[in-house]
C-alpha cells in the first residue's frame, strides 16, 4: 500500500472524535484505537457490552441460481450447511491451500448470500470472486462503500441490540436477520470477533450514525460503551481468532493456522482442495501455536519463541491479556507436535522470559460454548 494513499474515514469518524476517540491509521482507515482505555473497554465487553465501529469491513452480495455452487467452489467450509437465516465462518483458499481471506457467509434466502470480508482484502476478494464466477449463474455485487457496520459485543449485547431491533433478540448464535432499520434495508447477524456473545449490524451509511448514537444513548444504562480497535485486538487474540494479514495470508494454509475444522474435504470440489488434502495426509511443518508468559512482560509481534533452547518461531500476534493478566501470543512454530504445558521461553528486550505452550482460545467466555467459534 502506498504511504501517500489518502486515509479513508467511516461514517462514524466525527462521532468518534466527539467522544474523545484516539484516531489511528488502521490499514488505510482512520479508526479509534481507544476512547478511554484499552483495558477498560476490554473489560466492559467481557462484562457488559462494547460497541465497535467495524465499518471498514466489506460486504459482497452473491445472488442467483448458481450462488450456492459458486460459494462452494471458493470456500473451504461447507456453505450447504447453512440455510436462510444462518451464517458460517469460512476461509477462501487459493490453489496452494493458502488463504485469500477469512470471511463470514450469511444465507439471506435461497440463492442470495452476503459475504463479509476484511477491509484490506475487499478489492482482492472481489477480483478473486469475479475470476472464479465464470460458468456460474451468479451475480456479484461489492457493496462495501454502501454499508457501515457496528458490532455490539458482550453478555448484555442481546439486550442492547434489542433496544433498537427487538427481532434480533431471539436470533441463535450465527443467526442472520434481514430487516428494516429506520426505514432502510439492513442486516443483523449474531456474530462477532471478541469471544463473547454479540451482534453485528450491517446498515446503509446513511443510518450508521443513528444506529451508533441510539445504541450508545439507549444502551448506556445497560453498560454499553464505545470501544476501539485496541480492545478489539486484545479480545480477539484471547478468543483465538485470526487477524488476516497478520496471522493468516496467501502463503499460510488453514491447517497450519490450526483452523482445520473449517476445511470440509468431504463436501465436493473446491479451490485448493487437492493441496489441502495432500497436506492433511502428509502433515504440517508449522502450526499456529498459543504461548503464555509465566512471568511479567508484554510480548509483541516479532518476538522469538524458544523451545528446547532454539528458536521455534516468532509471534505474529502478541499482547498483554487483560483477562489472564499475563502476556500471550501466537506464532507459527516449526514444532507442530508440542503439547500444551510444554516449557518455552520468549525473548523480550534481550532477555528470555519463561513461558509455556497453551491451548487456544486463551480465554473462553462462560456465555459461549466451545463450538460457537
Amino acid at each position: 500500500m502506498s504511504t501517500s494513499a489518502v486515509l479513508r474515514r467511516t461514517a462514524l469518524y466525527e462521532s468518534h472524535k466527539s467522544l474523545g476517540g484516539k484516531i489511528v491509521d488502521f490499514h488505510g482507515w482512520e479508526l479509534p484505537v481507544q476512547f478511554e482505555s484499552i483495558i477498560k473497554e476490554h473489560e466492559a465487553t467481557r462484562r457488559r457490552c462494547g460497541l465497535f465501529d467495524v465499518s471498514h469491513m466489506g460486504q459482497v452480495f452473491v445472488t442467483g441460481p448458481g450462488a450456492l455452487a459458486f460459494l462452494q467452489k471458493v470456500n473451504a467450509n461447507d456453505i450447504a450447511r447453512i440455510g436462510p437465516g444462518k451464517a458460517i465462518y469460512s476461509h477462501l483458499p487459493n490453489e496452494r491451500g493458502g488463504v485469500v481471506d477469512d470471511v463470514i457467509v450469511s444465507c439471506l434466502a435461497q440463492g442470495r448470500y452476503l459475504v463479509v470480508v476484511n477491509a484490506a482484502t475487499a478489492d482482492k476478494d472481489f477480483a478473486w470472486f469475479q475470476k472464479h464466477a465464470r460458468g456460474f449463474d451468479v451475480a456479484l455485487e461489492n457493496k462495501s462503500d454502501h454499508f457501515g457496520m457496528i458490532a455490539a459485543q458482550g453478555p448484555r449485547a442481546a439486550e442492547v441490540t434489542a433496544l433498537i431491533a427487538p427481532a434480533a433478540f431471539s436470533l441463535p448464535r450465527f443467526g442472520a436477520l434481514e430487516l428494516e432499520l429506520y426505514g432502510q434495508p439492513s442486516f443483523i447477524t449474531r456474530t462477532g470477533y471478541t469471544g463473547e456473545d454479540g451482534f453485528e449490524f450491517i446498515v446503509p451509511n446513511e443510518i450508521v450514525v443513528r444506529v451508533w448514537e441510539d445504541l450508545l444513548a439507549q444502551g448506556r444504562s445497560l453498560g454499553a460503551q464505545p470501544c476501539g480497535l485496541g480492545a478489539r485486538d486484545t479480545l480477539r487474540l484471547e478468543a483465538g481468532y485470526l487477524l488476516y494479514g497478520q496471522d493468516l495470508d496467501d502463503n499460510i494454509t488453514t491447517y497450519e493456522a490450526n483452523y482445520g475444522w473449517v476445511v470440509k474435504l468431504e463436501k465436493g470440489d473446491f479451490i485448493g482442495k487437492d493441496a489441502l488434502k495432500k497436506q492433511r495426509t502428509e502433515g504440517i511443518l508449522r502450526k499456529l501455536t498459543g504461548v503464555k508468559l509465566l512471568e511479567r512482560g508484554v510480548p509483541r509481534a516479532g518476538a522469538s519463541v524458544l523451545v528446547d533452547g532454539r528458536e521455534a518461531g516468532k509471534f505474529c500476534s502478541a499482547t498483554y491479556s487483560p483477562s489472564l493478566q499475563s502476556g500471550i501470543g501466537t506464532g507459527y512454530l516449526d514444532r507442530p507436535d508440542l503439547a500444551p504445558g510444554t516449557k518455552a521461553s520468549v525473548v523480550l528486550h534481550g532477555r528470555e522470559i519463561p513461558a509455556e505452550i497453551v491451548k487456544t482460545p486463551f480465554y473462553l467466555s462462560s456465555n459461549l460454548k466451545k463450538g460457537d467459534l
Binding site: S37, G230, V298, Y320
Partner: protein, 133 residues
C-alpha cells in the same frame, strides 16, 4: 500530587522534580494518555549509576514498550514498588503516585538544560501540529 508547573521535562516526556540533589522521575500526563494502559514497569536497579539521557527503565503499555531516560546523571536511590505492583498508577496519577524512580543527582545543574512547563507545553503543541492528527 505534584504541581506539573513546577517540574522539568524531557522531549521524551519524562518529568523531573528536583529538590537540591534529590530528583524524582515519572512520565507526563500527556505521555500516559499517548501510550495508553501501562501494564508493566521494569525499573532500574537501586544503586545503579546513570548518565543524563541514558535509558534506564522500561514502561510497557498494552500497545508498546517505552524506554525511560534519566533526566540527569546520578545514582538510582529508590524505585516505586507500588507502581511496579500496580502499573495503572502511571495512568491514573502520572504526576503523583505513578512516579517511577528517585535519583541522587551527581550534577544537579544538568536540570537547567531541561524544559520548564511552559516550554514543554509549547513543545507538545508543536508536536501535535507536526503530527497528522
Amino acid at each position: 500530587m505534584l504541581d506539573p508547573k513546577k517540574l522539568k521535562y524531557l522531549k521524551s516526556h519524562e518529568w523531573l522534580d528536583m529538590n537540591g540533589d534529590a530528583g524524582t522521575v515519572g512520565i507526563s500526563d500527556h505521555a500516559q494518555k499517548e501510550i495508553t494502559d501501562v501494564v508493566f514497569i521494569e525499573p532500574p536497579k537501586v544503586g545503579r549509576q546513570v548518565k543524563q539521557g541514558e535509558a534506564c527503565c522500561v514502561v510497557e503499555s498494552v500497545k508498546a514498550a517505552f524506554d525511560i531516560y534519566a533526566p540527569v546523571s546520578g545514582e538510582i536511590v529508590a524505585v516505586n514498588a507500588d507502581a511496579v505492583k500496580d502499573p495503572a498508577l502511571v495512568n491514573t496519577e502520572a504526576f503523583g503516585k505513578g512516579w517511577l524512580f528517585k535519583l541522587k543527582a551527581s550534577s544537579p545543574g544538568e536540570a537547567s538544560k531541561l524544559m520548564d512547563h511552559a516550554a514543554y507545553e509549547e513543545f507538545l503543541k508543536a508536536e501535535a501540529a507536526h503530527g497528522s492528527h
